[in-house]
Symmetry: C2
Subunit: 414 residues, 2 copies
């Protein structure tokens, strides 16, 4: 890790501050939820949900029945995932469910002592951290109220990514092996398929496809504000997260839809051992908000109340501005996404990922170039590809997005 920064100067001028577009704190939709403050309000009294146990009738015994019902309903309303005959496992965000799935797929039956860890792969560019980057400095007063005692010189390591999560404890059960395209080891493996993919927004399928493999589908972005819902996903293990579904990142609620009961049991066991369940207050609030969301999607009339229409409009506007800017440079490019028919909206829709995956046609260290313009973004090498790529978060607040556009013009040299 690099030495901690010794820079402690106070600087609250937004125009001069570093803008962090690495983490992807999903605040683009806050205005919508502000309007829904009252409707989505939850109240919890002193003696509620005191037990460890939520529902002994469920494989996932710490899943609140209200949340189970709300999850099933929102998937039915949106049409993005099959929930019939699935087991729902709740987690503290989908990251814990990813780890629970790795545990479930590698620990039963327990491997003999000395067995090689199972290989974990994902097709590049994949959601990865890369150990060398170390701590990162958040200095953006935009990310937080501009209070000098709060906003400065704080180091945060926002490494939620497949590689780090797989390897940080040096597990003997599983081990990160990198790019699925170049994977050629014999033996059992687990492939993670993120679709739409983070960082590049593409729709994906598994690439290794061998008999001794298992697949985990990370569908965090398979929601109508980001992409066309072409069909209900129907895979063995599907991960979703509230933070991407609605923008409620602080709630830390994710869920897995799992076909095989034994896998769901082992995932539940993993979360039982590591945290004896998942915070019930956050489960109750997630249930409430998902229910309001489903209600509003099903009621005809006031279109501004439909969260997914609102979110799609926000993303469409941001992407239009971004594409217009990038088009002015002939050195840079963004991915192109096909239009697809969306079963949720009944329209043809483009994909508007929450991250822009920008490529420079010249061989430059693009993340460093951005940094020189006070923009912190994640470089391609951290996703298993070249340094001519960067991933830029597009789901910050309006002020952050506007400042991005302003500075990006300088990066692009226009």
């Amino acid at each position: 890790n690099p030495p901690p920064s010794s820079d402690s100067s106070v600087n609250l001028d937004i125009s001069d501050s570093v803008l962090n577009l690495d983490v992807g704190d999903p605040r683009a939709f806050e205005k919508f939820w502000k309007r829904m403050d009252e409707k989505c309000k939850v109240t919890i009294s002193g003696s509620e949900v005191m037990s460890y146990v939520s529902d002994l009738g469920n494989v996932c015994w710490f899943l609140e029945p209200k949340l189970r019902d709300a999850i099933k309903r929102v998937h039915r309303v949106v049409g993005n995932a099959a929930t019939e005959d699935r087991h729902i496992v709740v987690g503290t965000g989908s990251t814990t469910l990813f780890q629970a799935a790795l545990y479930a797929l590698t620990s039963s039956p327990p491997p003999p002592p000395g067995a090689q860890p199972v290989s974990v792969v994902s097709a590049a560019p994949y959601y990865s951290g890369g150990g060398s980057r170390g701590l990162m400095v958040f200095r953006s007063p935009l990310l937080h109220p501009p209070d000098p005692s709060n906003a400065l010189n704080v180091k945060v390591n926002p490494k939620r990514c497949f590689k780090d999560v797989t390897d940080y404890l040096r597990s003997g059960l599983y081990k990160w092996e990198g790019d699925a395209y170049t994977f050629d080891k014999d033996g059992p493996y687990i492939e993670i398929v993120a679709s739409p993919n983070n960082p590049d927004g593409t729709i994906r399928e598994a690439v290794v496809n061998r008999g001794d493999g298992k697949v985990i589908h990370d569908l965090a972005y398979y929601w109508p504000q980001f992409t066309a819902i072409t069909h209900p996903a129907d895979y063995d293990i599907m991960l979703f997260t509230f933070s991407k579904g609605t923008g409620h990142a602080g709630t830390r609620i994710g869920w897995a839809l799992v076909k095989d009961k034994e896998v769901a049991k082992k995932m539940t066991e993993c979360i039982t051992i590591s945290s004896i369940g998942v915070s019930k207050e956050s489960q109750l609030r997630t249930a409430k908000i998902l229910d309001v969301l489903s209600d509003d999607c099903q009621s005809f009339g006031a279109i501004s109340e439909n969260f997914f229409e609102y979110g799609y409009a926000v993303m469409a506007e941001r992407w239009a501005k971004l594409r217009a800017l990038v088009k002015k440079s002939n050195k840079f490019s963004l991915p192109k996404y096909p239009q697809e028919s969306c079963i949720f909206s009944g329209k043809f829709k483009e994909t508007f990922p929450s991250f822009a995956w920008l490529k420079c046609k010249e061989d430059v260290d693009l993340a460093s170039l951005f940094k020189a313009h006070k923009l912190i973004v994640r470089g391609g090498e951290r996703f298993g590809v070249g340094r001519e790529y960067v991933r830029i978060s597009l789901i910050g607040r309006d002020e952050e997005f506007n400042l991005l556009l302003e500075r990006l013009a300088s990066v692009l040299g226009i």
Copy 2:
């Protein structure tokens, strides 16, 4: 693991049902919190706490400032832990903080490839699971409302224990080595000291005491409803949990008080990687309840509003009944605890652990004997000692405790 039970017969007669006293779901204090329903109410609207980030001014950037303040205050009011110049790290229950502490103490600097995992030990009897036990059947309608669709034939594995948590991912960083008393391996080690200890309620200090060792203090039960607060604990890493502090197990909030900033940073990093923080709704509710608790401890007058006095009275009554029963048999014994002066209450107080650690003077498989009387308890072998011991949860609801007494009389043969 044993095969899943095929017994699906419905039986809701409480007198005939199996009573599970293994898990320790802390429901003994629910009546108190029921009275406080209104006072402890929290309301969260649709757009609150949406960000990943709580406080960039804190090493633990996902800790809500309100919770930080409430934790510091309750420790000042109770006098059970020093908080000055400590870093507070919040976790999804204290189990995640135990794992975060193991990670922090073993990953910095990163050990070279091929290095032996650091030994993790605790003095027997210690809080352990034991791999062979496998899934357990909850069938108690007492534990849950007697709804036939919910209460039956559900397998839950409530393995929160040092051994399982240390070893379940077969980490290359650390490894469970069992009893601290017999530990004689060279090299770095980590000792866990639970005080008051689970299962036997004793007040403990570290036993290995070598220069290359680190100590984690689990102070989950160092609260005035269970024991005399003799001094503010002042160790390097101290773990507390809301579930034992007040009985709010469903909230899944724990916290660590950490002296060394670098250790606090690495613990924060661990929780960042594994779950990108801790549910904010549960943090806000914990803050609210801790604040009400501190208010009421500081106000003179109505003693029934002081949670710790209430809790101590409940525990004292249960222990009196239990000791009176055990005394009638000359084959069984319970630990004796010294009376100590309590700085919180200003009185001499006995220890009333949340678990009874019962010993039979004959060599019997005591857990099996309990099972024959429809009482599920945890046997001594799972705590690193003999099968003539069992741990019995005393913090269930009144109905459960009364049923325990009734059946215990048969077990004791009186």
